[in-house]
Amino acid sequence: MQLKNIFTEGAITANFIADSIAKHATKTEIGGHNIFLGQVRADQIEDKLVVAIDYTSHVDMALEKMHEIREAIFTKYPLTCMHIHHSLGIVKAGEICLFVFTSSKHRKAAIDACTECVESIKAELPIWGKEIFEGEGYQWKENK
């Protein structure tokens, strides 16, 4: 089985998101879309400023796990479609690193599925973020 790729090298651009939205104009059974975007924060950690996050993943495992999450969410919610994109490599502060996009006939399914998908991605996908400090140094990101 060919697993759907979710990884993009570098940041996810606003134009990519716009194209993705525009593609749904032909799906006239959709009444509501929900989109979550993760953006890299310029956190201040003691006297250091985060200027980027460098993402790595255990890619094969992440894609298998994402496939399971997707199947479970499609079983649970009446969705028309769901698209997931996550960055690998360097994403600068202010840039988008995660794009989750769900669509359904009525809004509730799209909203609930999107939120559940974001939580699952953060908790279950083997992805790691290295917060790169201005100048030099880094620390490994921790999800709350």
Partner: protein, 77 residues
Amino acid sequence: MKIEINFYGQLTDKTGCSSFLMDNPGTIADFKKLVIEQYPNLSNAKFTIALNNKIALDNEVIPENAKLALMPPFSGG
């Protein structure tokens, strides 16, 4: 047959290594003991082990040609 081990995230800082091969040690518990002997910095590290892309339990027997992954807590998104 050797099995393949990969380290991820901050574990690579602790081991100074991202990948190596070893003889099949038997179970996941056996493997855990050996890998900590080889990389003592891992003894106080939080990690889970994936066996062929699935989270593995201590009593699982490692099959031939297995791929093991040592993974610190996830921080995607």
